[in-house]
């Protein structure tokens, strides 16, 4: 059974049809890259699945739990608040601009939710936090404040913060778009490492080489539709879809 199932999802902002008919599935341990031009609906799709936006129709199922499904008249019916919260706790999101808590130290950023939300003991949370920082190559930064770190370091802290909640699926919304080019590498390296550890991930990205290397599956979106989806090899080399090759050619020129 797929850990994430999305069927016929629609999303409107007023009259603007941002997501038209989105369907895909993802199995546990797989990595999905979502690529496509700006305004194609990638980030909106991610925000719909992570409950930061509500859908206007369709089905989303996370880890076997229905988050939203279509009612009688096609209107979306969301699960009770308790189930939605359970689903939210099984998903983590890494934001484009990190959204770390600036008034808390790095370690406090990592410990706050595990202690307050999951009820983990303070000592346990600190231990987990420290070992996560070690995995992120941020040893010794426990007591630093986010403003004292580089963008790449901040993004690695925010990945650690999401991992501290032990999510089943980790979502990335353009995790390197706010970073200087020389800092993207350190973040991508961490995500690659997570992929090797079989973390289930959905990554919206503009880094084409990265999307191809890290993913088990790639989705190309344009104009609110999934234009093409399949293995990286299929999407990047064999598809032959005109819009896709147009989009990819813009990257290969650089």
């Amino acid at each position: 059974m797929p850990i994430l199932k999305v069927e016929h999802v629609k999303k409107l902002f007023g009259n603007l049809n941002v997501l038209k008919d989105i369907s895909f599935e993802l199995n546990a341990g797989e990595v999905l890259s979502i690529i496509g031009p700006s305004g194609s609906g990638k980030s909106t799709l991610l925000r719909c699945i992570t409950q930061l936006e509500t859908v206007n129709g369709g089905l989303v199922q996370v880890d076997g739990k229905d988050m939203v499904q279509s009612g009688d008249k096609g209107t979306p019916v969301y699960a009770p608040a308790k189930v939605l919260r359970e689903i939210r706790l099984s998903t983590g999101l890494v934001f484009q601009n990190f959204n770390l808590f600036p008034h808390l130290t790095v370690l406090q950023n990592l410990c706050l939710a595990p202690v307050r939300v999951l009820g983990v003991s303070r000592e346990q949370a600190r231990e987990t936090g420290k070992s996560l920082l070690k995995r992120m190559g941020l040893e010794g930064k426990e007591k630093a404040y986010p403003c004292e770190l580089s963008g790449g370091q901040q993004q690695r802290v925010s990945i650690a913060r999401a991992l501290a909640m032990n999510p089943k699926i980790l979502f990335f919304d353009e995790p390197t778009s706010a970073l200087d080019p020389e800092l993207t590498g350190e973040v991508l390296k961490i995500i690659k490492k997570l992929a090797e550890e079989k973390m289930t991930m959905v990554i919206v990205t503009h880094e084409m080489a990265f999307a191809r290397d890290v993913a088990d599956k790639v989705i190309f979106m344009d104009g609110g539709y999934i234009v093409e989806q399949g293995t990286p090899d299929f999407v990047f080399n064999q598809s032959g879809n005109e819009r896709l090759s147009q989009f990819l050619s813009r990257f290969s020129k650089n």
Binding site: L89, F95, P102, L112, A113, V117, A162
Partner: protein, 219 residues
Amino acid sequence: MSDLSSLLPILWGGFCTTLAIFGLTLLFSIPLGLLIAVLKMSKWRVVRYPVSFYISVMRGTPLLLQIVAIYFGSYYLSEYSGLGFSFDRFPAVIVAFSINYAAYFAEIFRGGIQSIPKGQYEAAYMLGMTRTQTFFRIILPQVVKRVVPASANEVITLVKDTSLAQVIAVTELFALAKKQQAAYASIYPLFVAGVFYYVANLLLSVLFAYLERKLDYYK
């Protein structure tokens, strides 16, 4: 200058009343202001509109008038309704100052709360934090840092506004200084009172500068 030794104890007594008005007003108006700020951002109009009206009246009429209204208003209300409850002079002053300053603090706090980026709420939401947890652990601590400079203005103004309490014959610093002015037939006591206000505000300025530095550990 020989009379300074007799003047100072008298003015000091008035200054203590001034300090009491100051302290109690802050004690009540800051939490009340926070509550009003939150209510003013309510999504329900039935909550938002009365709160907006309250703020506009508090800011749009003289504090002097509000003190008089609370004191005499409660007196007449109790006389004619037979409720048998009215404010004494000092409590009336505290009530009037608290609800007036709460309105100003509310607008400062609202500005602070609304300046916190949406991403902070979203990050907390994704981590499963409740709305209460998000407000008190994520939003409010950041708001405090942002509202310190504007709040310092209000607090310093409050020290001087306490002199309005004399309108219903509460003998705070300025009222006593005026009495001494008549007794001495000199404006000299008023200047001494002025020094009291100035020194108090000087100390407050230092305190707020320290607070701003203390909160400067993050951007």
